[in-house]
Structures are given as C-alpha cells and as structure tokens.
Amino acid sequence: MKRVLCAATAGLLAVAAITVGASAGPIAPGEVKIDDGKITASLTGQPGSAVKGREWFANRKLGNCLACHSNSDMAKEEQFHGEVAPSLDGVADRWDEAQLRAIVVNAKQALNPDTLMPAFYRDSGYTRPLKDFEGKAILNAEQVEDIVAYLKTLK
C-alpha cells in the first residue's frame, strides 16, 4: 500500500517537473527586464528565424513595422513604406542584438519615453485597449525573436 502511494507521489512530482520546465520557456511580457537599453537573453531561450521575422515585420496585423519605417530590403515587394520613423537600412550596424531586442520589446523604455513606436512585448498598462487585445502583447516571444533575427540581417 505504502509503495503504491509512493509511486503515485513520484508520478505527480514528475508531472510537476514537466510543467515547471514548460513555464520556464518564454519569458512573459511582465517579467522582461530592460537593463541599460538591453535585453541580453533570448525571450524563448532559442534563436529566432530571420525568414519568419521578415514576414512578421511586413504583416499589417503583427509587426507592421513598415507603417512607420522604410526598409530597402523590402522595396521590391512592398510598395508602401512609412516615413514617420528612421529607415531601418543598416540598423544592425547601429545596434547589437540585445539592444534590438529591447527596442522591439519596449521602445519607450529602450529608446525614449515619448517615442511614437509602440511596445511590441508588453501586455498591461494600456489606456482603453480594444477588448480583443486586452491583456495581450502585439507579438509573442517567438515572433519578437524572429524579428530580432531578421533585423540582425539588415547590415
């Protein structure tokens, strides 16, 4: 009888260990710390995909970075590029990976508290967010990493 109980407990523990392992995966928006304009570690613990990041960058429902920034790398397939923010040509020469990550996560903390640039990985503290977006960040951790990987190619 005791043995059975023990086995059951061990089983539970094993399950618990797996859940802990999973939740230690992506760093949640509320837990990300920007230090000195930098986030050194990947939000997912993995490197992102530049190919996917290029897609999220242009996607109007995700990064929509082209709303504000121009980007020569996309001049051929994307006709409309914004003019309200600096061009992202050569951005990887100006900022390193940790800085780029911080800028995408929360430009108001990383660059300038008054910047027009939205924070892409912040899920609280908004005024009057539309219901569908309440408690949510614009991008998930993986998408942020993908975009960072893509930005790193803009040399």
């Binding site: 109007r60 929509n64 082209l66 709303a67 504000c68 121009s70 001049a75 006709q79 409309f80 590029h81 914004g82 003019e83 309200v84 108001k108 027009l116 939205p118 924070a119 908004y126 005024t127 009057r128 967010p129 539309l130 219901k131 569908d132 977006f133 949510k136 614009i138």
Partner: protein, 290 residues
C-alpha cells in the same frame, strides 16, 4: 492615374503625377501637402492659412491638400462628387412633413440657403437648455423630437447623413468658427486632453499622427492634420458619406483603442477641440477623401 483630372486643376499636377509615378518604382514618398487650389464653381476655398495664436501648428492645411490628384479632382465639381447625392436627399427631407406635429424643417426654417447659412461652421454650438455643446446631428434630432414630434434619426443613417450634408453645404466656403470661450472652455480642455492622451494597444494619440507627423506617409496613408471642416464627407474606403464621429471611431480602432461612444460627451468634446484647431479653414461639406 489622372483620368478624372479637370481643366481647373493646375497644370503643375501633371508634373506631380510624373514624380509620383517615378517614385512608385521604389517606395512611395509623399512630402508635405501639395500646392493645388480648391476651386469649386469659380469660388476658391481656404485650404491653407497661418495658424491662429496659441496653436501648436504653424500653418493650417485642409485634409484636401494631402489627397492625391484623382481624389482631389472629385471634389472640384459637384457632378463628380460622390457625396453630392446626399445633399439632394437632405434637400428633399427638408420640406418633407414628418412626425405628429405635421411639420417639416421648412415649416419653421423656410429657405435653408438663408436660415442654415453658417450653421455647420459653428458646430458644435453651446446649447443653453441642454447645458452642453451640441453637434449638428444632435441639434437636428432635438428639432425632430421637440418641434416635429418625430423619431430621432440614427447618427449614421441615410437621412441624418443627407440632412447634415444638406445643411453643411449651406456653409460651404465659410470659415470654421467655433466658440471656444465661456462655457465651452471646459469642453475644449476635455477635448484637448483626449487629443493628447495615448490610447490603445498601439499606445498612440491623435497628436502623434496628426500633429507630429502630418505630411508623412504612414504606410499607404498620407497623414493630414486631421481637420474636420469637410464632414460629413465621402470616403472611397467607406464607399459612402460618413460622420466625423465615425472617423474618430475608426482612428481609435486603428490603434486598437476602445472608441468612445458616437454622440457621447467625449466625442462631442473632441469634435469641438478638433474644430478649434482648424478655425478659419473653409467648410467643404461634403468633402471627398480616400
């Protein structure tokens, strides 16, 4: 691109069109407002003037000046203006008896060309009885309920858009001139606060686009100063006429913000404040935008 171009458009438009076409090969660039003149029926409208004292802007420009030449052309001739049929609808409703009192608007206000002249230019206007400013839509509905004993129209209904377009057309060419002192002050402040507050998941304010970045492209859109002198106006995106509050609502939703209520105090305050930022621009109702 310039299929609807009218002879009244300055020749330099051709040059602009050429430049734009060349620009498309790489990336669309807009620059500031264009230099075209808005002349309808031989009458020139004020689309540019030095900003009044205390304005955060240096020069005021009508939204018309930021549209491309094909959109601009549609406003140069009432026959080409897709919003103009609404004015005709409004004109018919003006003398149509409706409601239990057996009256029409004309029963009290006679000839709209006289009685409604300048009304749009001063909206929203302080209403002593209500103790608040009232928009054109609210004023029309108050007349319907109290004087015609008729049901109020929905804000965005065909009848309301027709009537506001018709009444608005009687102020065409007149300068926007809203009251900003006295009891309006408090409402103006409220509107200003809304204008500068960052909202929504994109965390932006009206000013972030229309004050700090007018003249620039935000992806495919050429940002204007967000003036309200053309409302209600025809928008090709809507494929119909729309009210000012509909536009406010759309701008808020674009930044993923929960819009205020159409016709609610917040949008009335915002209407007053945005109108005050464009004091002196000509009323263009019904304007054409894209």
């Amino acid at each position: 691109m310039a299929t609807r171009q009218k002879t009244s458009l300055p020749v330099r438009l051709a040059a602009v069109a050429g430049l734009a076409a060349a620009g498309l090969a790489t990336v669309a660039l807009a620059g500031g407002p264009n230099d075209n003149k808005l002349v309808i029926d031989g009458k020139e409208y004020v689309t540019e003037l030095p900003a009044p004292e205390g304005s955060p802007l240096k020069t005021l420009y009508s939204g018309w000046r930021f549209r491309n030449e094909s959109t601009q052309a549609m406003q140069l001739d009432d026959f080409d203006n897709p919003g103009y049929p609404n004015v005709d609808t409004g004109e018919q409703l003006w003398s149509k008896v409706d409601g239990e009192a057996g009256k029409s608007c004309a029963s009290c206000h006679n000839d709209a060309s006289e009685s409604m002249k300048g009304v749009r230019a001063q909206m929203p206007k302080w209403n002593e009885k209500a103790g608040k400013p009232m928009t054109l839509e609210q004023t029309i509905n108050a007349c319907r309920e109290n004087n015609l004993k008729a049901k109020p129209w929905d804000w965005e209904s065909g009848q309301m858009l027709g009537m506001t377009a018709f009444i608005g057309s009687k102020s065409r060419g007149m300068p926007v001139k809203v009251q900003t002192d006295g009891p309006m002050k408090e409402w103006l402040e409220k509107g200003k606060e809304i204008y500068y507050t960052r909202v929504g998941q994109l965390d932006m304010s009206c000013a972030g686009c229309h004050e700090a970045n007018y003249g620039k492209m935000i992806r495919a859109d050429h940002l204007s100063q967000g003036h309200v002198n053309g409302f209600p106006l025809y928008r090709s995106k809507w494929q119909k006429l729309g009210s000012m509050h509909r536009r406010f609502k759309g701008c808020m939703q674009n930044i993923r913000a929960k819009p205020y209520e159409v016709g609610g105090d917040e949008f009335v305050a915002l209407e007053l404040y945005t109108a005050s930022r464009g004091q002196g621009l000509s009323v263009e109702t019904p304007a054409v935008r894209n």
